[in-house]
Symmetry: C2
Subunit: 234 residues, 2 copies
């Protein structure tokens, strides 16, 4: 019998923000796969480390950290082949995903290749969106709010349009687009409502009004929350 | 010393989709508060039941199930007073929240009343959004997708506008607005891309293309996911 691929959301950073289900699977799964930059450690593997107390086989899926618009297909072809070999031999594989597997995660490219041939179970994880709101003490949305997740690499006019039409926005993938995001929020008169979070729930977490952040470039793991009413419960 | 209020996300339904952190707090907390309909059981309390193995004091926060546009302030005033009494006496309180506490949850009204006077810690939970995507095997969003959470009670023109401008939408609070949502999706030529999930991760979970659902009215715990590209990884 073939093995099952588990897409495991390991949450935003704090190892305690993993689900009991993910924890249970990680305790015994014979093979663990994880994304990592071309060199250096895997954040997903680091978050999961306290939960993996046996010595599974490991599959590294290495790619550039700031995922390109169209990620290199060969990386996923290769990973799907290696993981497929384990599944064919009856070994379950847990693929670790930062946050949630299906929320802007690269896991979906692996999923697209493996799901047609093998059983896949997705174990949802805490998204950085919810973790950032918790850290900020700022509810994301209430009642009939229109809430939009806005990737900062979009063109300035698209950012402005999306933000102006929403009650609540979460701006993700800020990175080198920070100056552009500030400009858009200033133009819309929303700068005072913008809250910044980096490394939510990790030991180096930063939580601040965006106006007090003096960086030119935000870290990859940062996001900006803006609510038009200031706070959602108003 | 005063107690701490914990806003605990208990996740979408499967008791195993609670975090280790929530589990740890629930094991020992002296007071547990939970929302419930005017009569009958609390879903949040039911989800948390396997994790509460001692006998804490319990605070019921009862209100109409289909939360009105402006929830009754007196319910929260009352709950905040009762919970404040426990906190003042040094007893920690865990307030249970379906899904995530800060994602369209009624917990924020309690938070707004308690946070100015006492320490509050938010423990994020798995949202039904991520749980539905996992159940559907349908990634929510990829790359630079604009993703919008759209409450179905909005007027038809607003729904149409929000959906047409997004790459991916999650339509929440469908309930008696199902026919309107269908009409909007039909008009936009997106009906074939719409996926329906009810009671995600619960024992009575339903997962189906929307086109195969013949209900007139959707249950309160249902949502509809639509991606313009059909699947996000394309």
């Amino acid at each position: 019998m073939s093995g099952t691929l588990y897409g495991i959301g390991v949450g935003p950073g704090d190892p305690e923000l993993i689900t009991l289900k993910a924890h249970r699977i990680l305790q015994t799964v014979p093979v663990v796969a994880w994304p990592a930059p071309l060199e250096g450690e895997s954040l997903a593997r680091k978050i999961a480390a306290p939960h993996i107390t046996h010595a599974p086989q490991e599959v590294a899926i290495r790619m550039p950290l700031e995922t390109a618009q169209f990620p290199d297909r060969s990386v996923y072809d290769h990973a799907a082949e290696e993981i497929g070999g384990h599944l064919e031999s009856g070994r379950d594989v847990a693929a670790l995903c930062e946050g949630d597997p299906f929320f802007y995660g690269s896991f979906m490219y692996l999923f697209g290749r493996v799901a047609p041939r093998f059983d896949v179970v997705i174990v949802p994880g805490i998204s950085s969106l919810m973790a950032a709101a918790a850290a900020l003490h700022a509810p994301l949305a209430a009642r009939n709010d229109l809430m939009t997740v806005v990737p900062a690499p979009l063109p300035e006019a698209d950012l402005s349009d999306a933000i102006s039409r929403s009650d609540s926005v979460a701006i993700i993938k800020v990175g080198r687009h920070l100056a552009k995001v500030r400009r858009v929020l200033d133009d819309l008169g929303l700068a005072a409502n913008a809250q910044y979070v980096a490394y939510a729930t990790m030991t180096d977490q930063i939580v601040s009004p965006l106006s007090e952040i003096t960086l030119e470039k935000a870290p990859y793991f940062s996001l900006i929350l803006v609510h038009k009413r200031g706070v959602a419960w108003r």
